[in-house]
Amino acid sequence: MHILIAEDDAMNRDVIARRMRWEGFTITLAVNGSEALQLARTQMPDLILLDMGLPGQNGWDVARQLKSDEATRHIPIIALTAYALPEDRIRGLASGCDAYELKPIDFERLVQCIYTLTAGSAPG
């Protein structure tokens, strides 16, 4: 399975990427919103792990754009964010994210969520 990770914090990016590789997923990394949009459109990943607080175009914008685009609408998006207030969660889901996971990340829950959202596509 091919996962696009959009995360601006270097250490968080490193941790998430290594853990996802360890789970056996193929990883593409993006460090800001526009890069995330570009990679999603060109590489068509099976799922996107999207940080909300990205510089430039933030996660909410990226999710909104991907979900309004016919070509990328089907790609499941999991919001990964340190914004922990209930309204942040509502805002994330409203912008089109399929799931909302808080930082620090519960990786077992996250992996479970990834499989749930990509049910039907074979783990790779």
Partner: protein
């Protein structure tokens, strides 16, 4: 003297006593307008009535003639007195004042002389005879030329007086109804009597009714004028109003001579009215030449002026109005002034109070806004803090899990990297907590400065070393300027280091593939010598609307910068506060695309401090 008393002359004598009483009473009140002519009128009627009564009672021609001559003194005087009274009481014919009234008496005087000398020229009576009409002895005569002059003159006087009184009644609507009636009767009575007499309609034949009706007129006037006390009250009341006014009042004639002054004005001028009235205004007001000059030719004005009286400045509301007489001829000016110093002070006080209230209201509004803004900023800060704590915790927990699960499988180098990352993230957390606590200390006034002399250049070098990893990460160069000449500085070295580290870290974080320059210089162009630190970068710059927000605690420019650069939003707030604690200031200049320059300065150590250090 042979005198026969009849009921008829009894009535005349009774009336004469009434007339004499009125004359006496009016004479007593002669200072009041109208009273003197009224007294004269009453006395003339008294003489007329007495003369007529005695004429009717006398039996022989010489005696009758004696009384007739006396009677005529009253007859010629009464119409003139009537006119005088009408003019003075109604104050409608100002030309006829007490100085000119004697002119009216010229014709009556000639008449008396003509009567007394009639036997030589017969110009008044051509012939004289006595006739008996029932119980009366009546003086009968053929009238001469001067008799008709006298009669014509008397009618003119009566007519004029009547006109003035009718006119007065017409334009004085507030006059009481009974009083109006009495005045109308007074006006009509002599005419009715005279018309009856001249038309020969009198039931008493040749008996002259004029003295009766004229006396009725007198009684009506006396009742109207004295009975209603108008004569006394109206001018008295006017005078009282004028004198009791707290406003100063002066009237001057066309030549500038003072013709009226009230008590308040006397007090200001400092002289009794007797010494003011008749004097020229510029003499009476010689203490205030500027005011005399100012109003010399002003006939109409209303303004406030400042005047010095007994070495104190006072404010006056001055009103000048022209005085016109009944014929709209300009006669002088009326000055009315009022001391408005107290009013002005009260007005000032009110205005100041109002301003203070508005200021207080504004302060309250600002305080409320600030409280609301503070509350919003704190909520935003809490949300932000949660985010800022969770981010390094994500790294720490993530690396720990990686190590737990895979430490056996990974290289030593990888493990070292992971541990360093945990350390870095934990340090970041610690900084965050420290800054928050420091801000809390500042906000509760617990942040102190510990002054010492310290080597400023070593602090700059230390900061430069500290930020090296940050500079390398964003591929920035660091240049230091002017630190060799810096020498010693008076201040709190810990705080100076923290300010500088904050500014240089910010520059390094926000700039990629650029340059950060730290310039230090002595500035002595202003009164206070200063040490100035400048940290410039070639980064993206900041829009002016965001610069002021940079210094607001907890209010960081969210979503405008990347997470890598963001802190708790406290660094600049704390740095500026430290600068101000040490007597300096911190400012930021920037524009998008032009980099950012942060400047802070501290007061340079003075000679005294340096000496104190040496002596200490």
């Amino acid at each position: 003297m042979n005198v026969t008393l009849t009921p008829y002359n009894g009535v005349l004598l009774t009336l004469s006593i009434v007339a004499l009483s009125v004359a006496g009473y009016a004479w007593h009140k002669r200072a009041l307008p109208g009273a003197l002519p009224l007294s004269l009128l009453a006395f003339a009627l008294f003489v007329w009535l007495i003369g007529y009564a005695m004429e009717l009672s006398s039996q022989t021609l010489p005696v009758v003639m004696w009384w007739v001559r006396l009677e005529f003194v009253g007859i010629v005087t009464a119409p003139v007195a009537w006119l005088w009274f009408a003019a003075e009481y109604t104050s409608s014919w100002s030309w006829l004042n007490r100085r000119r009234i004697w002119l009216l008496g010229v014709v009556p005087l000639i008449t008396i002389i003509v009567i007394l000398t009639n036997e030589f020229h017969h110009q008044f009576w051509q012939s004289i005879a006595l006739m008996t009409d029932g119980p009366f002895t009546i003086f009968d005569s053929r009238r001469g030329f001067w008799f008709w002059v006298h009669t014509g003159y008397s009618y003119v006087c009566l007519l004029c007086g009547t006109y003035l009184i009718v006119n007065f009644i017409r334009r004085t609507p507030s006059l009481f109804r009974r009083q109006t009636g009495a005045l109308l009767l007074a006006v009509a009575a002599p005419w009715i009597g005279n018309v009856i007499y001249l038309a020969g309609l009198s039931p008493w034949g040749k008996l002259d009714l004029t003295p009766f009706t004229f006396t009725a007129s007198l009684i009506a006037v006396a009742w109207s004028v004295l009975g209603f006390r108008m004569l006394e009250i109206r001018p008295l009341a006017r005078d009282m109003v004028l004198q009791s006014m707290s406003d100063g009042v002066i009237a001057v004639d066309e030549q500038g001579r003072i013709i009226e002054v009230n008590r308040a004005a006397q007090a200001v001028i400092g002289l009794p009215s007797a010494q003011i009235i008749g004097r020229h205004a510029r003499e009476a007001l010689a203490r205030w030449p500027a005011i005399v000059d100012r109003y010399r030719h002003v006939t109409e004005i209303a303004e406030e002026i400042e005047v010095e009286i007994d070495a104190t400045r006072r404010w006056f509301d001055v009103r000048i109005s022209p005085i016109y007489d009944g014929r709209r001829v300009y006669r002088g000016r009326l000055f009315v002034w009022r001391d408005v110093t107290e009013e002005r002070l009260i007005r000032e006080e009110l205005r100041r109070n109002n301003e203070r209230l508005l200021e207080a209201q504004q302060a309250l509004i600002e305080a409320r806004n600030a409280a609301e803004a503070g509350s919003r900023a704190k909520s935003a800060f809490l949300a932000h803090m949660s985010h800022e704590i969770r981010t390094p915790l994500t790294a720490i927990i993530g690396y720990c899990q990686l190590l737990e699960n895979g430490i056996e499988r990974q290289s030593l180098e990888q493990t070292r990297h992971d541990v360093e990352a945990i350390h870095l993230a934990a340090s970041h957390l610690l900084d965050l907590v420290s800054n928050v606590l420091e801000m809390a200390r500042i906000e509760t006034g617990q942040s102190d400065v510990h002054y010492v002399m310290f080597d400023a250049s070593s602090i700059v070098r230390d900061v430069a070393m500290t930020v090296q990893p940050l500079l390398r990460r964003n591929r920035n160069r660091l240049r230091l300027e002017g630190i060799e000449e810096l020498g010693e500085l008076w201040g709190d070295p810990t705080k100076v280091r923290q300010i500088l580290l904050n500014l240089v870290s910010n520059a390094a974080k926000f700039t990629t593939d650029g340059e950060v320059v730290v310039r230090v210089a002595h500035i002595s162009d202003k009164s206070q010598p200063r040490i100035q630190f400048q940290v410039s970068d070639t980064g993206p710059g900041i829009a002016s609307e965001h610069i002021t927000r940079l210094f607001i605690p907890f209010a960081i420019a969210e979503h405008h910068v990347g997470r890598e650069q963001r802190g708790a939003g406290l660094g600049l707030a704390i740095s500026r506060h430290y600068c101000r604690l040490m007597g300096g200031e911190l400012t930021i200049e920037s524009a998008p695309g032009c980099g950012t320059t942060a400047t802070f300065w501290l007061p340079a150590p003075t000679l005294q401090i340096a000496l104190a250090e040496v002596e200490g």
